[in-house]
Amino acid sequence: MKRVYVNEEWCLACHLCEYNCAFANSGHSDMVLALKGKKLYPRIHVEGDEKISYAVSCRHCLDPLCVKSCIAGALSRKEGIIEVDQNKCVGCLTCVLVCPYGALAPNEDGIMQKCELCLKNSAGEPACVAGCPNKAIVYEEREVI
């Protein structure tokens, strides 16, 4: 399965992935319309400083602790992709508490949202990857070692 992977040596901490993510999931067709004057709630975020930086988004684990821990049964793994059913989520943040990658954060209403690889929005494939200026994140198949 294709996933988003990080090549941290190439991350510039430009944070464009966050903006592209928020835009892709905004439902708007114009980035200005989607993001101007708004607080950003992206499903990917950049960590680190100017020396080391990297973008973190859901790893779509083979054995997802978040899914197992979700007290609302809102998280599930479908064809390898971890999805959240926002209708079921009550915002308890147990998933945030268990995700060892620090990949999850709620939306502005406190309900979980997460990277679903842009498969359901108009981007069609991860907008963060498409917009990364330096291939610091890539969307590809990799072998389990």
Partner: protein, 501 residues
Amino acid sequence: MGVEYIYPEFEVIRNENRCITCRVCERQCANEVHSYSPELGIMLADETKCVDCQRCVSLCPTHALKIAKSPCTYRENTNWQNDTIKEIYKQANSGGVLLSSMGNPKPFPVYWDKILINASQVTNPPIDPLREPMETRVFLGKKPEKIERDKKGNLVCKLPPQIELSMPVMFSAMSYGSISYNAHWSLARAATELGIAYNTGEGGLHEDFYAYGPNTIVQVASGRFGVHEDYLMAGAAIEIKMGQGAKPGIGGHLPGEKIVGDVSRTRMIPEGTDAISPAPHHDIYSIEDLRQLVYSLKEATEYKKPVIVKIAAVHNVALIASGIARSGADIIAIDGFRGGTGAAPTRIRDNVGIPIELALAAVDQRLRDEGIRNNVSIVAGGSIRSATDVIKAIALGADACYIATAALLALGCHLCRTCQSGKCNWGIATQRPDLTKRLNPDIGSARLVNLMTAWQHEIKEIIGGMGINSIEALKGNRLMLRGVGLTEKELEILGISHAGE
């Protein structure tokens, strides 16, 4: 200095309606032009620092930015143009030599643009590269005068060492130090993937890149940085750099702050010391000295590596080339006055040397007149900008071309001509880790491969149009060229007819 005489050269134009204050411009500008004002909630710009490298423009996700030349000008004066005045101010301010980089930007004639290419019609069919094989492979190196046969009468199939190229283009010398590790890596990988060669420049060869040796030309320049036996043996060829088109007659100076870490190790000089390349090689004060160096290098490499001698195109280039062709060198590289540089005195860059087109034509003809054209291959460089420049150079008589500025552009360079600052926002002409990482060699090498592949397609299509199906049939084929708007003298030197003739 009390009064700032020079108004910022560029204007940062931000469309506030589109700016989403994502601050990518701020994060990406090593010159610290942009900043965010929490009080106003908007982005600010300090235009005095802007060099028009366009990094922010390229990365702004909402296209809210553009950089424009400032319309603020001094009073119009054909003699005392704006740039001339500014340079006076700068020198009056600093008392120093003006420094600049990349190639000569002045409006000298570009002969490539005054030469047109032939195509077949009726009497001779154009060849369609999509249907027929179209070959661009070339070999650079000395060709023996005569074939030999063994006692049984079989051909002895041995040539002096050659460089085999899949197409007649190579990446020319840019030293590690003047450009980044990742830029070198991109060049090395692309050259390898393409089956061409790149050139180390005078900064030595980083140990990581020995793996790309078969596609590497190792340079020996007047500073002798990073030259040792393994280095000489590592490459496909050795280039003796006698001169550079952008700054004929002067040496180089890489400031100590760039001589850090691996750059210092690779150059084999202490960290923080200035890397000074003398103007001459101090062991070459004449042609016979050159011959000694050529053979020293051949001895050191067991005659397995062709030796290139690179010279700047200067007034008597044909005579110099003739001397080099008889020096034992296998290849002559001629660098025209529009060639790039990481740093050069502006006055020299803009006023010394001659155009590559004339130099090439003169050298090729001179070597043929002397019957020694087969002693050497000729590589032409110094602002080869496109596939058609390559074709024209080959038709004038070059065996191959060197490109550097075009390669840097493919890597993201925007020709802001401030390489000497060491703050290249595109991660090319810098050693700052946070900047060098901006050039991902996966992307860089792919873009170089794309560029060369595109040129190769164009070359095939255009020579196919001439009815030629292999690049060697183009070499020196000056009948395929016609001049437009050139004087008799220019046509004579170029060895071509005027269009319509």
